[in-house]
Symmetry: C2
Subunit: 222 residues, 2 copies
């Protein structure tokens, strides 16, 4: 990249990091766990959130920010589950940035326990932008193939949790979950890994228990 | 975006457009059809190229440029089919640019009829960069969902051909190919659409016939 481009990129990332730090401080002060969810298009981010909403209804207060290039489809799906949700339509931009998230924060109900931020479907660009989350989850769906972590490493090295999705399709695919998991752990040995299916429900209770534990680790300010 | 960023982006795109125009002129002068293939990660770009290589061996001279963020895995898969292939590893960048392709052109054998350029797996960013191709193909795999064209419109509005992949998984998915096709055609009524499976071979002969016709439309310079 020419020097001018590098300087502009550094400015953007610095200003994003500052906005993200402010969001993190505000949300943790309010006792809210912010979770940034990233994956390829169609890996099952919205379906996973629908299932989590159904299984935690009445026992966990969640809210969802939906990032998409175009359409409000995902927000409509989440609201249909009775969960507060806000759409950020990027209008072409390939990732969310912290300042976009910051604009939504005043609307997030005070009683919220977990705020999910569903990023734009893109396994590359979102990984470069801190949104002020405390937990970053990367999804890898079985049909994408077990060779993807090393081909798209940044999403896997910057996440704390990996969720392998669409386990119901394992019998129909050459996908080897052990290989995908081993490759991701080679990149990032600290990853917590879950194998799930939004169709059969496999692994969802374990993932929800993990999210509850992460929420409990937050010590809100008095 | 701040004004400075917009100017830098305009510079980048102008310089990319100039490089792309030079590549297009050179390849068409040599009678080579350049095909830019884009999709989400794991939608089946490399598998499609493997099947095309097997079915056209001895009757069509193809070559492949593989764009990836990391690893040379895809190039190794294509070379294993006896097809000349070159890896461009972007080292983090989310799309190929024309100048990266330009560096490979001197290596492309003169007898090549179709040069496939497999872009980085990303349904967003590659759509903004002309690589000097004459034909742009977007793949949408069944597991990604039939709601994706309008959520990621630019790849569909800038392509001339849409290939729906992984048709063998239709029985196991809620995917409706007619809905996906209709939604893509609403965005871009001129799209040629093919339904394929790299597992069963469905639709591959029709797609290869389409590629041969596109190759025949080129009138190489004397």
């Amino acid at each position: 990249m020419p020097k001018k481009d590098i300087l502009v990129l550094q400015d953007l990332l610095l200003s994003n990091a500052q906005a993200a730090a402010a969001i993190r401080a505000e949300l943790e002060g309010r006792g809210i766990l912010a979770v940034n969810i990233m994956s390829s298009p169609g890996a099952g981010k919205t379906s996973l959130l629908e299932r989590i909403a159904e299984r935690t209804a009445g026992s966990l207060k969640i809210a969802v920010i939906e990032g998409d290039i175009e359409t409000e489809r995902d927000t409509e799906r989440i609201r249909a589950k009775g969960v507060p949700a806000w759409q950020i339509t990027t209008g072409g931009a390939c990732h969310l940035e912290a300042k976009m998230v910051g604009k939504v924060l005043p609307s997030v109900p005070p009683e919220t326990e977990i705020l999910f931020i569903e990023n734009v479907g893109n396994l590359v660009c979102p990984a470069g932008y801190d949104l002020g989350e405390r937990l970053r989850i990367v999804l890898l769906s079985a049909p994408e193939g077990d060779d993807k972590p090393k081909k798209y490493p940044k999403a896997f090295t910057t996440a704390q949790t990996l969720v392998l999705t669409k386990a119901d399709l394992f019998p129909h695919l050459p996908f080897d979950p052990a290989k995908a998991k081993a490759e991701a752990l080679e990149l990032n040995p600290k990853l917590d890994v879950f194998i799930t299916s939004a169709v059969t429900g496999e692994g969802l209770d374990e993932l929800i228990a993990h999210l509850r534990r992460k929420r409990e680790e937050i010590q809100p300010h008095a």
